[in-house]
Amino acid sequence: MQGENLLKQYGQGESAVLAVKGISFLIKSGEWLAIMGESGSGKSTLLSIMGAMNSPTQGKYWVDQIDVYSLGNEERADFRRQYLGFVFQNFYLVSYLTLLENVMLPLAPIGIKRKEKRNLAQEALWRVGLDGQSHRLPNQISGGEQQRVALARAIVNHPPILLADEPTGNLDTKNSLEIINLLQKLNGEGMTIIMVTHNFGYAQFAGRILKLADGLLVEEIKNDGQKFSGQKI
């Protein structure tokens, strides 16, 4: 994943706000990257650009040599389906669907057999430790479990990249650690993970941390498992 001089402006004229001010990055396949920063630092905007959901005002963004924002809206939807999985702070599970159906959602537009979809969803639920609760509704389980379902939904179609926006933001420490452990496991299996977080403790699980402030990339911290080496930018 490569971003080059990405800039995002919201609004026009005097009310214009620059959320991201020319950020460049290179993320290798299988890497776990944490993005940190205060509220309004531009980290969620940057994540949405990485998620092929928010066209940058300026700059280029490639994934697997695909110039993502040169794709049309529909092709970008296909790109998201094939390459990306999303986990949000608020889980965004569909309340009227069972856990299994929620996990099956990304497979709904795909022309594969119902049984195969079910098997994939059950496998994803099993990976997050919720395979026995597939028939329950989201409001019948805890917040931690809901986030695990959201994680299962994000990985059900085996995307190479997982984007997590404050995945532990609404969870207590125990549940947060469970989610981090799951992310660690997925990363260990080769999945690229981009995680936005406020919490440095959880960011330390990533191989690299990008710190943003006021729309700018201000620091890059590398974690080789033994020590952190920071670099002010």
Partner: protein, 385 residues
């Protein structure tokens, strides 16, 4: 899990909104079904009544100088003392092309007779055809069999006669078997007796003064029938009781127009209800749609979900609307007609049209909300929360 099952699950979850849309569509469909059914039923009823109305083609001799009215409408005249038609000629009517449309042919002989020193118009008619020719007649007593008299209300009053009494007609004593209740027509001034008896009294055996034909029915080519009868009875003048048909059909046409305008309004309101409710529902689901888009649903997938929901509701609304419309038509029909014979059978064409209308209306009114949802930017949709 596919797009259709997402639509179904959402409908189950948002029952109130689904029911609201369903009712909106159903009211529109049922209004159209009600009006179409009513118009059809009333048309059939009018046709039936016209059949029952009695004579609607008159056959009179070519010479005419006596004004005659029928049902309050001027129908030309007949000079009953001078010109007659041969009764045997009436048989030819059975050979016309549209003979199947003829319910009854009623020969009528007219003549002035002397009753208690009073000149009275005597009419000889075929009482067997009376149910077709004078279905509105009500009377006290019985219809004459071979020789009796049925006296018009005014004539009975003028002659001071009651049923069961006897009258001397041209010197011949005859029993009054019945007194006709007032009809408001010239029948009130006439005394009636069976055709053969009248011909005998008037010495007009084998001849008639005029004939009435009960022929009207829905779609009958009445003008064509008049032409056909004229062709086989060159010595007679054949006339259609056009006014009756015309006024009834004009009234129906007015009702039809009003019904269509009202239906269109109800349908428009129904469409607006669907549009507004669907739009509200879609806006409520902004986050959900944002998630779908983030997960890689294309615009067409979102449209498919929303339009599937609308389609499911529309089909149900079409079926329910059709039967509700039929029920409503059945309920209000007595206010439009006093007939009890009118049936409201299930018309497959109307059922199909109701279904097609519900689907068109439901999908049409949902298209804009679906388009709006499909064009939602996933980032904006999620950011708006």
């Amino acid at each position: 899990m596919n797009l259709g099952s997402i639509a179904l699950r959402n409908l189950r979850r948002r029952k109130t909104k689904a029911i609201f849309i369903l009712v909106g569509l159903m009211v529109g469909v049922s209004a159209v079904v009600t009006f179409c059914t009513l118009v059809k039923a009333i048309t059939e009823d009018i046709a039936h009544k016209l059949d029952e109305y009695g004579a609607n083609i008159l056959i009179v001799p070519q010479t005419q100088n006596l004004s005659l009215t029928y049902g309050g409408l001027s129908l030309g005249g007949v000079l009953f003392e001078m010109a007659e038609i041969k009764q045997a000629d009436l048989e030819k009517i059975k050979s016309i092309k549209n003979a199947a449309n003829i319910a009854a042919v009623g020969p009528l002989v007219l003549g002035v007779v002397d009753v208690a020193n009073t000149k009275v118009l005597l009419a000889g008619i075929d009482f067997k055809a009376i149910q077709y020719l004078r279905p509105w007649w009500t009377y006290q007593g019985t219809l004459p069999d071979k020789e009796g008299l049925m006296v018009g209300a005014e004539a009975a009053k003028a002659l001071g006669i009651k049923k069961g009494e006897y009258l001397k007609v041209n010197g011949e004593t005859m029993a009054v078997t019945g007194i006709l209740n007032s009809t408001g027509s010239q029948d009130d001034q006439i005394i009636f007796t069976p055709l053969k008896k009248a011909q005998s009294i008037l010495k007009k055996e084998g001849r008639i003064s005029m004939a009435e034909v009960a022929a009207l029915c829905a779609g009958c080519p009445i003008e064509e029938m008049v032409r056909q009868i004229s062709a086989i009875l060159p010595g007679a003048k054949v006339m259609a009781v056009k006014q009756v048909v015309k006024s009834r059909l004009e009234a129906l046409s007015h009702f039809q127009k009003a019904a269509y305008v009202f239906s269109a309004l109800v349908v428009l309101v129904g469409a607006l209800v669907v549009l507004v409710t669907m739009m509200g529902s879609v806006k409520e689901r902004t986050a959900e749609i944002g998630i779908f888009r983030a997960m890689g649903f294309r615009s067409k997938h979102i449209m498919q979900i929303i339009l599937s929901e609308a389609g499911i509701i529309s089909v149900v609304a079409g079926v329910l609307g059709f039967f509700t419309g039929l029920g409503a038509a059945q309920a209000v029909l007595p206010f439009f007609t006093s007939s009890y014979h009118v049936s409201l059978p299930i018309d497959p064409l109307l059922a199909g049209l109701a279904l097609a209308m519900a689907i068109t209306l439901g999908l049409g009114a949902s298209y804009y909300p679906a388009r709006w949802a499909a064009n939602l930017d996933p980032h904006e949709a999620l950011r708006a929360l």
